[in-house]
């Protein structure tokens, strides 16, 4: 590429392309991208179609009785309202908290290196089912550790209480735990965006005499719009899909949540009412589609948060005496949301059972020995899950990076259809889709039943969309001028992808990778149907112990998984930051030789 002289004809074509908007060109790279898109569409749609055919065709005839049955579910309206309210409330709470944490960490001197980089993410690596149990242990009105502690403390001052003061089995308890699991999404998204964002505009605004608030409102927030939209989409998406948390908490609070109803209709009834599960899932799809449409508009219209050809690291804003307050906030948040439930789980493991009357002398690691050290199935499951997480997240993120660029350069209507075809099925109940995978892949010619590969394919299909949201945000941030410069310099599309886009997208992609890794390692929905003794996975084991064992056994396994995942995510944070530093340095001359960037 270094020897390629500027080619006037080619430059002209590019210019015309730009003026006319997007025009699709057949190059080896676009053909490869097209095939990749096709493969992902097939992977997502074929199992779904198989399930739909099976659910709605009775005796060779189309039968939509399920729709009527779905609408006739008692208290459906109440269930929908509860779900909507929990989703919106927790989404709003987590967007605000996540954005504040990210801004403090990326733009102010409250940052404390890797510590503040990783702290807000740790809550995320505790599998939701363990997190939910951790909060039940802490905030149950009677025997919750925290409640007992508070009651003992106020007891010193003569205040006598037998219950509370907190109750996890309540609307605020449920929103609180939901939010904890959404904050990492918004934090990761906003962090990556801030890291990539050209901070010179913010600095210019400050130099021009505008205060912090004006700069935030007029420069930073508009520039962050695509990332905030991406984070909002993911929070709605994942909170609609959360099952463990409402199953543990909402049921106890007498609240009905959509996912619990869906899982009940397929996982606890015979014959499974897959048709009703699909009917209910369509309600979820509608909600996600609306948010997805809005996110699309924001990402594609926004031209603010571009990485220019030149950029440099932001100078941290000095918070002065507020710095200590900001740091206490960050640490306090991490302590409350992560350390507390983890400590509660550790405590229940050490005491062997849940009790507020802790006998410190009786501590033992017996549950850990029994469930982790001496259980060959748990060990095999851990090894399988970690391998699946690494391989699955890598494949999915690379595919997401390629496709996000491919789709950006396609006619909008096409791009939207392909994007939707890949993403929408994953919003269905994972259990329903897992059945589709068996229908398609278990039989001849594939015969993948009970294998590692069927899990890998299912994980990619189910979790790819979450990674794609991260990649879309990252791709939208790379200014098209850079690609044009590269093309003008004579580079092929694949060279441009490899040398321009990939490096610039790395922070966003790594954030997405971490997300997918954690999701895949902890999956317990699809695995429930697809895993077995030939391919055990750890999420399934955790669920198993939760259903039939004790908290202490479940906690010992969940904490092992958490420690391993946390190590991986923290290591990635370090890598991500290094990569960002590298990518924000001026591009090397050879990359841009012959092209006029400015």
């Amino acid at each position: 590429m270094a020897d390629a002289a500027p080619n006037p004809t080619r430059a002209d074509t590019t210019a015309i392309d730009r003026r006319e908007g997007k025009r699709f060109r057949f190059t080896p790279f676009s053909i490869f991208s097209g095939l990749l898109a096709l493969a992902l569409v097939l992977l997502a749609m074929v199992p779904l179609i198989a399930v739909l055919l099976r659910a709605f065709i009775q005796d060779g005839k189309l039968d939509f009785a399920a729709i009527a049955d779905t609408l006739a579910i008692p208290d459906l309206g109440e269930t929908l309202l509860t779900t909507l309210w929990i989703t919106l409330a927790s989404g709003a709470v987590s967007l605000v908290i996540g954005a504040i944490l990210a801004w403090l960490n990326e733009r102010t001197d409250a940052r404390m290196g890797i510590l503040t980089d990783a702290l807000p993410l740790i809550a995320f690596v505790l599998p939701p089912i363990a997190g939910a149990v951790g909060w039940v242990l802490l905030l149950s009105p009677g025997a919750g550790y925290l409640n007992v502690l508070i009651r003992d403390l106020v007891g010193i001052f003569g205040v006598r209480m037998t219950d509370g003061p907190f109750d996890i089995y309540s609307w605020y308890g449920l929103i609180f735990v939901y939010s904890i699991y959404q904050v990492p999404f918004s934090f990761m998204f906003v962090s990556a965006a801030l890291r990539n964002m050209d901070s010179s505009l913010e600095e210019a605004s400050r130099v021009a005499g505008h205060g912090l608030a004006t700069t935030l409102r007029r420069i930073t927030l508009p520039a962050l719009a695509p990332s905030l939209a991406g984070a909002a989409l993911l929070t709605v998406w994942t909170s609609l899909g959360l099952y463990s948390i409402p199953s543990v908490i909402a049921t106890g609070a007498g609240m009905k949540v959509l996912t619990v109803e869906i899982v009940n209709s397929v996982a606890f009834t015979y014959p499974a009412r897959t048709d009703i599960a699909v009917g209910l899932s369509f309600l979820m799809i509608a909600a996600v589609a609306i948010v997805w449409f809005i996110q699309n508009q924001v990402v594609r219209r926004s031209r603010h948060a571009m990485v220019g050809g030149k950029s440099r690291a932001a100078t941290p804003i000095r918070l002065g005496r507020w710095r200590i307050v900001a740091r206490i906030f960050v640490f306090g948040y991490a302590f409350v949301t992560t350390a507390l439930p983890f400590l509660a789980l550790a405590l229940v493991t050490l005491t062997g059972f849940w009790t507020p009357n802790i006998d410190w002398a009786s501590f033992s690691l017996e549950p850990f020995r029994r469930q982790v050290l001496e259980n060959p199935v748990s060990q095999e499951a851990l090894a399988n899950s970690l391998t699946l997480g690494v391989v699955g997240a890598t494949i999915a993120m690379l595919a997401a990076a390629v496709l996000s660029l491919f789709l950006l350069r396609m006619p909008t209507r096409w791009a939207r259809s392909i994007d939707g075809a890949i993403k929408l099925p994953s919003t269905l109940s994972h259990i329903v889709l897992a059945v589709g995978f068996i229908l398609i892949l278990a039989g001849p010619p594939f015969r993948l039943s009970g294998t590692w590969l069927i899990l890998l394919l299912a994980y990619i299909a189910l979790y790819y969309p979450q990674g794609a949201v991260a990649a879309d945000g990252a791709a939208a941030q790379v200014a098209p001028e850079l690609a044009e410069a590269s093309a003008v310099a004579g580079a092929s599309q694949s060279t441009t992808f490899r040398r321009i886009f990939l490096p610039l997208m790395v922070p966003g992609l790594i954030a997405g990778w971490a997300l997918l890794f954690v999701r895949m390692v902890g999956d317990l929905s699809a695995s429930a149907i697809l895993a077995g003794s030939g391919n055990p996975v750890v999420g399934r084991q955790i669920l198993e112990v939760f259903q039939n064992g004790t908290f202490s056994l479940m906690a010992s396994l969940a904490m092992t998984l958490t420690v391993i995942s946390a190590t991986v995510v923290i290591a990635l944070q370090i890598v991500s930051r290094r990569a960002a530093r590298w990518s924000t340095q001026p591009l090397s001359k050879s990359d841009l030789k012959g092209a006029s960037v400015r």
Binding site: F353, A442, T550
Partner: protein
């Protein structure tokens, strides 16, 4: 009244099937003297073992407790030199996975042991499950499998008795279902969600036995509704709840072993949740499938299956001590679900 009718129908059906099966079984029962020194003393069984060894690994799909399945795996492999792999999942998951695999012409399971929810019975009707009596299983049905346990081509191999758990520090000793209505337990009774077929079945049985008023009174005692076994066990251990109907003793025993102040009782007229065994018709390892079926209905197999507290081997006596959860009872319970939920006030 209702119950006696149910039992009679079941008994009559079981007797018919059982009688036929006994006749078939006698011809190959292990009475003949040993022929080969290394063999089992039963030529048919020896032949089956050799055939199963030639086929290789046999697969069990089961909703049994994982610890029990692991014990069976070890014992089976040791005894016959045939590898056993298993899928441990909930009954609904097993039915979905098996049906989808069968639809895709990729059957993996050789033998299925699962809740008696009608799935295996449907399988016999569809020809996907082979009636055990027709399978020429050596020694089937043996003397340890009473007539009641042989149901239309399937065999009950395990009975789980739904009991009551209580916190020994706080609750008075409880023995009968009515003890749950003790005013001392008001606001301290944990129940499991009737979204699960087993617990819905129990509430239904209680309403049939003691009337809907009982459920209403029980509903007034309720502290909280839980969705999993571990939640109930831990709520009792911590004193968050003091008593809980519908618990299975296994989980309680683990926590008790770790020092939790727990006790349990199995009241009369409880719900018996059977695990039934079905032989897959077009199983990939026909000899292995029959050998595993033989093992699971043998004295040793049944003992392993019913080794844990709260579980009893399917003896005639055990069947008489409670209501048997089956497709019929589940359907009746499902019909009354709305009424039950309302009576409980949840």
């Amino acid at each position: 009244m209702f119950r006696s009718m149910k039992t009679r129908t079941a008994l009559a059906a079981a007797a018919l099937v059982g009688a036929a099966a006994l006749v078939a079984g006698c011809s190959s029962s292990p009475t003949s003297p040993s022929t080969a020194p290394a063999g089992t003393g039963d030529a048919a069984l020896d032949e089956l073992i050799a055939a199963a060894q030639a086929e290789g690994e046999v697969t069990l799909y089961s909703s049994l407790d994982e610890r029990i399945v692991q014990q069976i795996q070890t014992a089976f492999q040791d005894e016959y030199g045939v590898q056993l792999s298993y899928l441990r999942a909930t009954a609904a998951e097993i039915s979905q996975r098996f049906s989808a695999e069968a639809d895709a012409d990729a059957t993996v399971a050789d033998v299925i042991v699962t809740l008696n929810d009608g799935f295996l019975a449907d399988g016999i009707e569809q020809g996907r499950i082979q009636p055990l009596e027709d399978a020429d299983i050596p020694g089937y049905p043996g003397e340890w499998l009473p007539e009641e346990a042989q149901m239309d081509g399937l065999a009950v191999v395990q009975l789980t008795q739904l009991g009551m758990g209580f916190n020994t520090d706080n609750a008075p000793e409880i023995e009968t279902w009515e003890d749950l209505l003790d005013p001392a337990l008001t606001g301290k009774v944990a129940i499991s969600s009737p979204d699960s077929a087993v617990h819905l079945g129990l509430f239904y049985v209680l309403s049939e036995e003691y009337g809907m008023e009982f459920l209403e009174a029980l509903g007034a005692q309720v502290e909280r509704v839980y969705t999993s076994g571990s939640q109930v066990v831990e709520a009792l251990s911590s004193g968050e709840a003091w008593a809980a109907p519908g618990t299975v003793a296994t989980g309680l025993e683990i926590a008790k072993g770790q020092g939790a102040p727990l006790g349990w009782a199995i009241p009369e007229n409880t719900l018996l949740s059977p695990n039934v065994m079905g032989l897959v018709a077009d199983s990939p390892h026909p000899a292995g499938a029959r050998l595993l079926s033989h093992f699971l209905t043998s004295e040793e197999g049944l003992a392993l299956l019913n080794d844990s507290p709260g579980q009893v081997a399917p003896s005639t006596q055990a069947f008489e001590a409670g209501w048997l959860l089956g497709a019929e009872l589940s359907a009746d319970a499902a019909e009354k679900k709305a009424e039950i939920v309302e009576a409980l006030g949840i």
